[in-house]
Symmetry: C2
Subunit: 287 residues, 2 copies
Amino acid sequence: VKKLVIFGVGLIGGSLALALKQAQYVTHIVGVGRSHASLDEALALKIIDSAETNFASALQDADLVMIAAPVAQTSEILQKIQPHLAPNTVITDAGSTKSDVLEAAKNVLGNQFSQFVGGHPIAGAEKSGAAAALANLYVGKNVIITPTQETNKEAVEVVRELWKACGANVSAMPADEHDSIFAAVSHLPHLLAFALVDDIASRNNANQLFSFAASGFRDFTRIAGSHPEMWRDISLANKAALLSELASFKEELNTLQQLLETEDANGLFALFERASLARNKWAQSKQ
Amino acid sequence: VKKLVIFGVGLIGGSLALALKQAQYVTHIVGVGRSHASLDEALALKIIDSAETNFASALQDADLVMIAAPVAQTSEILQKIQPHLAPNTVITDAGSTKSDVLEAAKNVLGNQFSQFVGGHPIAGAEKSGAAAALANLYVGKNVIITPTQETNKEAVEVVRELWKACGANVSAMPADEHDSIFAAVSHLPHLLAFALVDDIASRNNANQLFSFAASGFRDFTRIAGSHPEMWRDISLANKAALLSELASFKEELNTLQQLLETEDANGLFALFERASLARNKWAQSKQ
């Protein structure tokens, strides 16, 4: 890849740039962003080689375009890219939801939709912004790409190789399958953590409750400290799958409630044991 | 304190013993347990000075008795202690629920109930057993004691000073207040984590789901790896408060569901922002 254009040089886009530079996979990286300050920071940190605010010059001779801006901006960015898009330029993204992104890309790009490959790196960190970017953020991490039947096969390979050059494990699957999986293992847990903290924070004795919360609460609610704007956008983008997960979880809570009400010691033990074994087996497999 | 008797020399009882030895607060520590192996281990690690399986000799001349065995055994241990209990021996415990423990103590000890002080150190760790015991486990941690109007004032002070000698911050409150607080900030989060993992583990595509679960899922579900037996006992012991928390949480989930169904972006943002601000403020206060 000679010229890579990254929209949004924060943790995700910045870490990609650093990883690709380290792997000597890209000759020139152009950063495009809404804020001059963050582009200047990315230049100073040598994350990008040049910064652009003009879309036409940014896109000129670009081999690959990565959209790593907040998901709600994807459609707008695609609209600004479209008039300057050469037939051989591949576009991809790093958003946490995929069906909505593919729909936006199809609407905006029309018959150039074949050049778009949806992607989602399963990596994040407590911090955000270019200053938090790490060259090794994607090493050993999963990246999912969501090609469709219309997607150009060479474009898919370009994006797959891009992530492999960062040390990631790349899987391909349909966008709706991706969205179902992440509704279950990521989006629902975030909603539950937000809900628990909001429930406690709204009480008269909130300060007392928080003062006795300890390490279990700390870990359980870590994801409740996430960006409200990002999670509003993810929740709305993945509404259908998330509502389905919420319904399933409420069923599980009803089961637990009944076990408690009837003081079913064996039933409670069995449920806790199934969960505990599954959780510890998972944790071991991740080590 | 000249003679301290500890029932259950695991993480909680063992760490107490190590902390008190380090503070030179106790002259002689006797361990009592169901298993010879764990007593031998505690002796070998110099956590206890002697081991006993006979209750009469263990209790003789004891100033203080700590019950740090699983909560479900508390009533049985009290029954075995009661015939050998001198009028000046103070008894306390380290169980995660307090109303049920006080009720058991009152039933078993009768007019010696004044010698019993309920306690709960808010400390734990991934590991359990004497080998995991740490002299500094309680430094800076909260310990709640739950004296009643019948409790001997000197007994309360003995238990308060015991925990202060370990470096803990000691608060006193009624048992039902304790149980309400921990239903909210500890017991409900455990139930939610167990429920989420059980819900996922029961699906046909559980392996696929687990394979894409990442760091948010890891932290959110850490407490789902807890001991099933311990959490069965805590759930049943604190049933009323826990059912009340479950009802409150389901209301909060219904609110979230409605915000999602109506695509209320501002409402979702407001809820996530309240939670995120409260969670990050809490985390900062704990640093």
